[in-house]
């Protein structure tokens, strides 16, 4: 009646809003441009599907009970019975959710190993290693093999595994390019690794997703994916035109504030290496040993 009408209205408004919006422009997370984001988007859609069934069952049961057992529909002298419970009902009540959770767990565990490994389809490629470090409220991208460094923008080749090594010169931040894959923290006392890849050229939004103080909202960066050839050309051009990054210059860059895009030759990894305080990275690669050195932590952590 009155109540059901309003409830139906809620639901229809909700779904209209979703359809209209997703019709206009696909939501970033559900518009993946790389294998990792694709896996995550398919997990999300799968779980939305299964969960919708549960929601519908609960809603239907509720509406049924409320319609059928309202006092106004019962005789005045109706006395509800005393019912303790029923073993079989309870077995179903536990059993079905257990099966659903078991299935989702199976999917979830599989996905964990997928997103934490070299992206599917690009297992044979040599990953491009990029050190992405954050400082208040900027991102520094160091390409150790190419010997260049950028601030607040990221150029990446398509069709190749990307390996981001993340750390922070300040508060915990989170490196996130929704269309390429989910986020991971960048922290001051260890390096975390995020595996991504881009299937097609394009421009993507990237940002710090973890609150890090006053300048957090604007703590974003642009990602441009291009073919390997274009990427190589860009590297070459940078090497020819950009100024080298110096320790002094880098210190200036670390000062809290916002900077536009900047480009340098060389990387800060040589004089301001990533943290090594807590052993974490499962696979150690050459770049890591190259840049091994110490920060204040090393001495103290023992």
């Amino acid at each position: 009646m009155h109540k059901k009408g309003i409830k139906a209205a809620f639901i229809s408004v909700f779904f209209t809003v979703i359809t209209v919006l997703s019709g206009c422009e696909p939501l970033l997370v559900l518009d993946p441009k790389g294998p990792q984001a694709e896996r995550q988007a398919s997990d999300i859609l799968l779980s939305i599907g299964i969960m919708s069934i549960i929601v519908i069952v609960v809603f239907a049961l509720l509406v049924y009970m409320l319609v059928k057992y309202r006092a106004s529909k019962q005789k005045a002298d109706y006395e509800p019975p005393h019912i303790e419970g029923n073993l079989w009902v309870e077995v179903i009540m536990v059993g079905i959710p257990v099966l659903i959770v078991a299935f989702l767990s199976y999917v979830s565990v599989q996905s964990n190993y997928i997103v934490e490994a070299k992206p599917k389809g690009y297992e044979d490629t040599k990953p491009l290693v990029v050190y992405a470090s954050s400082s208040d409220w900027k991102w520094h991208f160091s390409y150790p093999e190419e010997g260049i460094e950028t601030v607040n923008y990221l150029y990446i080749p398509t069709d190749r595994a990307l390996e981001f090594r993340l750390y922070s010169y300040g508060p915990i931040t989170s490196f996130w390019i929704p269309q390429l894959g989910g986020q991971k923290y960048a922290m001051s006392d260890m390096v975390t690794t995020l595996h991504l890849a881009a299937d097609a050229p394009g421009e993507f939004m990237g940002r710090n997703a973890n609150f890090s103080g006053k300048g957090f909202a604007e703590n974003t960066f642009n990602v441009t994916a291009m073919s390997q050839e274009d990427f190589d050309d860009w590297v070459k051009e940078v090497k020819e035109t950009a100024k080298p990054i110096t320790e002094k210059k880098f210190e200036e860059l670390l000062e809290p504030g916002h900077l536009g895009r900047q480009t340098y030759t060389g990387t800060h990894l040589e004089f301001s290496p990533p943290p090594t305080g807590h052993e974490h990275s499962e696979e150690s690669s050459e770049t890591e040993t190259n840049t091994e050195s110490h920060t204040g932590h090393e001495g103290m952590s023992h």
Binding site: I6, F10, V13, F14, V17, L27, V29, L30, Q40, A41, I44, M51, V55, V58, F59, L61, M65, R70, Q74, Y78, P80, P81, H82, I83, E84, G85, V94, P97, V98, V101, S108, V109, S111, Y113, V115, E116, G170, P171, I172, S174, P178, G182, Q183, K184, Y185, M187, D189, M190, T192, M205, R207, F211, G213, G215, F216, A217, G277, E282, H297, G299
Partner: protein
């Protein structure tokens, strides 16, 4: 003047000056009013020194309602700021302070005292006891909570609010990035309130285990009492973790240790881990008593016994155990690797099973019932569908690989509001309407009550459903603004409209209290809802001693048993009743704690030392005091009982 500079707000604005004026005027008005109406003595005798669990409960309720509006104003300011892109209503600093205090106030100073109110008011009545096990400790718990809450709130006008989020992650909350005293307030104010909560935990476990009416075995306890018992067990295990964490934070910020700092071996991950080792069980401390209230309300208004009593108890026990094994899901993205994430992903989703059992039990309680739509029942029936939405999105968040995309976004914000508002807040409001007549002797107006429930629900859906969408579109949480190009505008505008509707709902609650106080009939029975448990078997208003004769119980629905099966609850003659004396020490000690906390926050070490001594003197006084309580004579009981029966 250097000394006074530290008390200045580092980033003042009109709102802050207005609040200063408002706080000042309110304090003056309260003092003047108390003096003019000569109520100081009444206030002291009847409230400040009381050890009566019912009065302490009501004081918790008042604090919770007060804080609900403080946190609510924060919420509406945030939604207003984000309603349109590139809004300049608030700047980054204010926005950061506001979402930080919104979180802390709503969780620790609104939801917590609200459940404390229910536990205090209901549990002793429901188990047929005359008070809690340690009445004076109970008073101390309340006053410590209250002083902690007040201390936290003055940060807005003295020295500046914390601005590192309610999770207060280091190193952001450390002195390296938060130089103002804001985060000191966080550490100290929550510490003081937390000590109070821990004491409550001990107090209620003892009460429930030792003071139940004759015949009430554990499996004959009403469901709310069960939920309170389990919540308090979680408190006793979780709150020491918080106490240690906050102490470490204080040491880092004010004494110069390096637990969580960037330099000298500090580890920022440690804070996040310990925080959520407390933080996740805390969620269940809030939701389990809420489930308890729903169980009472649904069974009362379905006019049926609760379906699956044993599985309800079992599922709560299971939830409480699991709650300590899921903390890592708050940071799947910290880089602990696939195996660790998988384990916590499974434990997280596993919680859905016992929670689902509860939902189905409630649904089956409705079956073959005779459902009456009162306001508390309406809240409960709105809770089931809305909470289910929140629950299933929780399962989605539990899938750790997908969580890399949800984490830190509005999707997450939508999820936890979707469980806390329909889950906890609706339970509080259902319970408020349900127990109001027992507390004050008149009902809250049903018509306004139902309007409120619908408005809150419409507002809720409009405010939070769009966040799921904008989260999937890449809107991170805690951003004070966003560009037009980001495309979040429409969703956030809908959210704002929803928040405004909810605000009207909350104002209506206050109006309902006002309206009902003036116009509702005082002529109600002791059991106006035709309920099933012991709290409705005593008089309204409840006499100081609760039950003239302690009831005898033989089922988990003792009153229903008495009404339908002719079971006699109260057998025997009146005997004199032993009651605890009032005491000013809890209040005075808590006031000293307040000064201690304030001095500590500003590193004023001499007052800190003096007040520490003061606190120890209070404790010493208590331990040397000879107070054996007092007796209420049979004659007094007879008089009270005759009066109450006549009324």
């Amino acid at each position: 003047m250097d000394f006074f500079d530290r008390f200045a707000v580092p980033h003042p604005s009109l709102a802050i000056y207005a609040s200063m004026a408002a706080i000042g005027l309110t304090v003056i008005a309260v003092f003047a009013g108390l003096t003019y109406f000569k109520k100081w003595g009444y206030l002291w005798r009847e409230w400040l020194t009381t050890v009566d669990h019912k009065r302490i409960g009501i004081m918790y309720l008042l604090s919770a309602l007060l804080m609900l509006f403080r946190g609510g104003v924060d919420a509406i300011m945030m939604r207003a700021q984000l309603a349109v892109p590139e809004n300049t209503l608030l700047d980054a600093q204010h926005y950061n302070e506001i979402f930080t205090t919104h979180g802390i106030v709503m969780i620790l100073f609104m939801a917590m005292p609200f459940i404390m109110f229910f536990m205090n008011f209901v549990v002793p009545l429901q188990i047929g006891a005359r008070d809690v096990a340690f009445p004076r400790l109970n008073a101390l718990s309340f006053w410590l909570f209250f002083m902690g809450a007040m201390l936290f709130n003055i940060s807005f006008v003295v020295g500046g609010s914390p601005d590192a989020g309610w999770t207060s992650y280091f190193p952001l909350a450390g002195t390296e990035f938060s130089k103002s005293v804001g985060s000191n307030y966080y550490m100290i104010a929550i510490q003081i309130a937390g000590i109070g909560t821990l004491m409550t935990g001990i107090n209620f476990i003892t009460t429930i285990l030792k003071m139940r009416a004759p015949g009430m075995t554990l499996m004959k306890m009403p469901m709310f009492t069960w939920s309170a018992l389990i919540a308090n067990v979680i408190i006793v295990f979780a709150f020491p973790v918080l106490a240690v964490l906050l102490a470490m934070g204080t040491l880092d910020r004010q004494i110069g240790t390096h637990f969580f700092t960037m330099d000298n071996g500090g580890m920022d991950m440690l804070w996040a881990n310990i925080f959520w080792v407390w933080g996740h069980p805390e969620v269940y401390i809030l939701i389990l008593p809420a489930f308890g209230i729903y169980s009472e309300v649904i069974s009362t208004f379905a006019r049926r016994n609760l379906y699956g009593y044993k599985s309800m108890v079992g599922s709560m026990v299971l939830i409480s155990l699991l709650s300590f094994f899921v903390w890592l899901h708050h940071f799947f993205t910290m880089g602990q690797g696939a195996l660790t994430n998988s384990i916590f992903s499974i434990t997280t989703m596993a919680i859905a099973v016992p929670t689902g059992v509860k939902i189905f039990n409630w649904l089956l309680t409705l079956r073959k019932g005779k459902i009456v739509f009162t306001t508390p029942m309406l809240y409960s029936m709105l809770f089931i569908p809305l909470f289910t939405l929140g629950g299933v999105t929780g399962v989605m968040l539990g899938m750790s690989a997908a969580d890399y995309q949800y984490h830190n976004t509005m999707f997450l914000v939508a999820h936890f509001h979707n469980v806390i508002i329909p889950g906890v807040v609706y339970a509080m409001l259902a319970g408020l309407h349900y127990y109001w007549p027992k507390m004050f002797g008149f009902m809250l107006n049903e018509k306004i009550g139902k309007w409120t429930a619908w408005l809150l629900s419409i507002g809720f859906v409009l405010a939070f459903m769009p966040m799921y969408i904008s989260g999937l579109d890449g809107q991170a949480r805690r951003m004070y603004t966003y560009s037009e190009a980001a495309g979040f505008g429409a969703m956030n505008m809908i959210s704002f409209v929803g928040a405004a509707i909810m605000a009207i709902g909350f104002v209506l609650i206050v109006y309902n209290i006002y309206y009902s106080t003036r116009y509702e009939t005082r002529d109600i029975s002791n059991d106006p809802w035709d309920a099933r448990t012991l709290e409705w078997s005593t008089h309204t208003p409840v006499p100081e001693y609760n039950f003239a004769i302690l009831p005898e119980v033989r089922s988990n629905e003792a009153l229903w048993d008495a009404k339908k099966n002719g079971h006699v609850l109260f057998k025997g003659e009146y005997e004199k009743i032993h009651m605890p004396n009032n005491s000013g020490i809890p209040f005075i000690m808590s006031c000293i704690f307040f000064v201690w906390g304030f001095s500590f926050i500003f590193s004023l070490w001499i007052p800190v030392i003096l007040t520490t001594i003061g606190i120890f003197i209070c404790m010493a006084l208590r331990s040397f005091e000879q107070d054996h309580g007092r007796y209420i004579s049979v004659k007094e009981i007879e008089e009270t009982e005759t009066n109450l029966r006549g009324a």
